[in-house]
C-alpha cells in the first residue's frame, strides 16, 4: 500500500471538514501525496416523504450540499499547497447494505489507498449502539492501511 495515496471519506458535515483541514495541514509539504475525496451517497429514506417530488427535492438538496462541500474541500487542500492534479473527487451510491463503512473499505482496497482519513462525530455509547459508527467500523475492519480519525 502507498501511504501517500490518501482517501478522505467525507459526508459534508463539520466533522468531515475538520478531517479535510487536518489532512491539509499534515500534507502541506508532503511531496508526492495524492488525495481522493470520497463521498458515499445514501439517499434519504423514501418513506419520510409524502410525494416523489418532495423526496427528489431533498435528494437534489443533499447532492448540491455535497457538491459545494467537495468544491470547498478541494480549495482547502489547494490552499495548503497540494497541486490541483493531486486531488480528485469520487461519489458512490450506497444502499442500506453494505454499510457506508464497508463501501469506504471496498474503495480503499480497490484503489490501494494506504491512508484513510475520516471525521468522527463523537457518539455516545447508546448512539453507537442504535445508529452505528462509521469511524468505529473503519478502525475495526481496515486492513493494510493507516486510519486517521479526526475528532
Amino acid at each position: 500500500m502507498d501511504f501517500k495515496n490518501i482517501l478522505i471519506a467525507v459526508d459534508a458535515s463539520d466533522n468531515a471538514r475538520r478531517a479535510v483541514d487536518y489532512a491539509a495541514t499534515i500534507l502541506a509539504n508532503a511531496a508526492g501525496a495524492r488525495v481522493t475525496l470520497l463521498y458515499i451517497e445514501r439517499a434519504p429514506g423514501r418513506d419520510l416523504f409524502e410525494t416523489e417530488e418532495a423526496w427528489l427535492g431533498q435528494c437534489r438538496l443533499e447532492h448540491d450540499r455535497v457538491f459545494d462541500f467537495l468544491k470547498d474541500a478541494r480549495a482547502r487542500l489547494m490552499a495548503a499547497g497540494l497541486p490541483d492534479e493531486a486531488i480528485s473527487e469520487r461519489t458512490l451510491l450506497c444502499s442500506a447494505e453494505p454499510s457506508v463503512a464497508q463501501t469506504i473499505l471496498d474503495v480503499q482496497q480497490e484503489g490501494s489507498f494506504g491512508t484513510l482519513v475520516v471525521g468522527r462525530r463523537g457518539l455516545s455509547k447508546g448512539e453507537e449502539f442504535l445508529f452505528g459508527s462509521v469511524s468505529t467500523k473503519l478502525i475495526h475492519n481496515a486492513r493494510n492501511c493507516a486510519v486517521w480519525v479526526v475528532q
Binding site: G45, S99, F131
Partner: protein, 326 residues
C-alpha cells in the same frame, strides 16, 4: 382474508348493515366514507368503503401501556360487512415525532407505505399480523388487518404462576425457543431491507392455537443510519431480558425488597435504562453464563453491540442447548 359472501345485487350500505346484523348495537347509521383523510371525523356507526368492501366502525383502537389508554384515532375497530369478520382498519396518518429511548431522542415517522410493503412481504406468514392494503378514493393507504388470535407475550409471561427457578427450568426453554423463531422472523424482514421499527414486548403476541409468536405493528420508520437494524436489535434485547427475568427487575425493586445477594450497580443495568437490571445472573445464579453474556451485550459496560440478528442468534441459540441439557 375470507371470500366475501355473495350478496343480493345493488344493496345499499344501510341494507348491508341490516342484512349481516353485526354483533353490536348500531343505533343510528352514520356516513359512508370513501375518503379517509379526515379520520378524526370517522366515528362509531360510520362505514368506510374501501377495496370494494364496507367496514362498519365501532370505535377507535386504544394503545394500552403502563395502565394508561391512549386513543388511536387513525385505527378503527370494524366489522367487514360482506363477511361479518372483525377487522382493524389503519388509516393513513403521516406524522414525525421524537421517540425517547433512555437519554436518547430519535426522530421517528409513521409510514403507511412501509407497513403496507411489509404486509405484502409477510402475506401468509403466521409470524406476522396479516392484512391487505387498499387505496381510498384520495389515494390514502388503508390497511385492513385481521385480529391476531392471541395474547401479548409480556402478559402471558407475567401470568405464569411459578417462582423464577421453576419458571426458568421448566417453562423458559420453550419460550426462548419460540423467541428465537421470532428473532428469525425479524431477520426475514432485514433480509428484504425492512425493519420492524417498533419492537416492544407488547408488540409480540402468542397465538392461542399454535403457541407461536406473532409480530404486530410495523409502521414506525427512521432515517437510515450506519446501523439500520440497531433499533430492532435493541428491542429484541429488551424482550430477551424480560422473558429471562420473568419481568423487569430494577435496582429500586431490589432495594425495596431488601434482598440479600451481590451488590447491584449501574454496570449491571441496561445501557439505555440505567435502573433496569440485565445482569440477571446476579439475581438468579442458575442463569447460564452464556445466556448472561448475551444479556450483558445490552449493559452499560458493553463495548461491543449486536448489529445483526445472526450475530445475536449465534450466541443465543447455543444457550437453548445448554438449557435443554441442564
Amino acid at each position: 382474508m375470507p371470500e366475501p359472501v355473495p350478496l343480493p345485487p345493488k344493496m345499499s350500505v344501510r341494507a348491508l348493515v341490516e342484512h349481516f346484523k353485526p354483533p353490536v348495537s348500531v343505533s343510528s347509521y352514520g356516513a359512508v366514507f370513501t375518503d379517509t383523510t379526515e379520520f378524526m371525523n370517522i366515528t362509531y356507526g360510520d362505514v368506510i368503503h374501501v377495496g370494494g368492501r364496507h367496514y362498519l366502525v365501532y370505535g377507535d383502537e386504544r394503545e394500552r401501556r403502563f395502565g394508561m389508554e391512549d386513543p388511536k384515532f387513525w385505527v378503527k375497530r370494524c366489522t367487514e360487512l360482506e363477511s361479518g369478520q372483525y377487522r382493524i382498519l389503519k388509516l393513513e396518518f403521516r406524522e414525525t415525532f421524537d421517540q425517547h429511548i433512555g437519554p436518547l431522542t430519535i426522530t421517528c415517522h409513521r409510514s403507511a407505505a412501509k407497513e403496507s410493503r411489509i404486509l405484502k412481504l409477510v402475506e401468509g406468514d403466521p409470524r406476522f399480523m396479516q392484512g391487505v392494503t387498499f387505496k381510498d378514493e384520495r389515494g390514502n393507504l388503508v390497511r385492513v388487518l385481521e385480529r391476531v388470535q392471541g395474547r401479548r407475550l409480556d402478559l402471558s409471561v407475567e401470568d405464569i404462576h411459578a417462582d423464577h427457578r421453576s419458571y426458568f427450568h421448566e417453562i423458559y426453554p420453550g419460550i426462548l425457543e419460540r423467541f428465537i423463531r421470532a428473532c428469525r422472523a425479524i431477520l426475514f424482514l432485514h433480509e428484504y431491507g425492512e425493519s420492524h421499527g417498533d419492537i416492544r414486548r407488547d408488540h409480540l403476541y402468542v397465538d392461542h392455537a399454535s403457541g407461536e409468536y406473532c409480530w404486530i405493528d410495523f409502521d414506525y420508520g427512521y432515517d437510515t443510519t450506519e446501523n439500520p437494524f440497531g433499533l430492532d436489535l435493541f428491542g429484541l434485547g429488551n424482550i430477551l431480558a424480560f422473558i429471562t427475568g420473568k419481568g423487569v427487575h430494577t435496582i429500586q425493586d431490589r432495594a425495596n425488597a431488601d434482598m440479600d445477594g451481590p451488590l447491584i450497580t449501574e454496570s449491571d443495568c441496561s445501557l439505555f435504562f440505567r435502573h433496569r437490571i440485565v445482569n440477571l445472573r446476579k439475581l438468579f445464579p442458575y442463569v447460564p453464563e452464556e445466556l448472561n453474556h448475551v444479556l450483558m451485550h445490552y449493559s452499560a459496560t458493553s463495548e461491543v453491540y449486536y448489529e445483526t440478528v445472526p450475530e445475536l442468534l449465534d450466541e443465543l441459540e447455543p444457550c437453548l442447548d445448554i438449557l435443554r441439557r441442564a
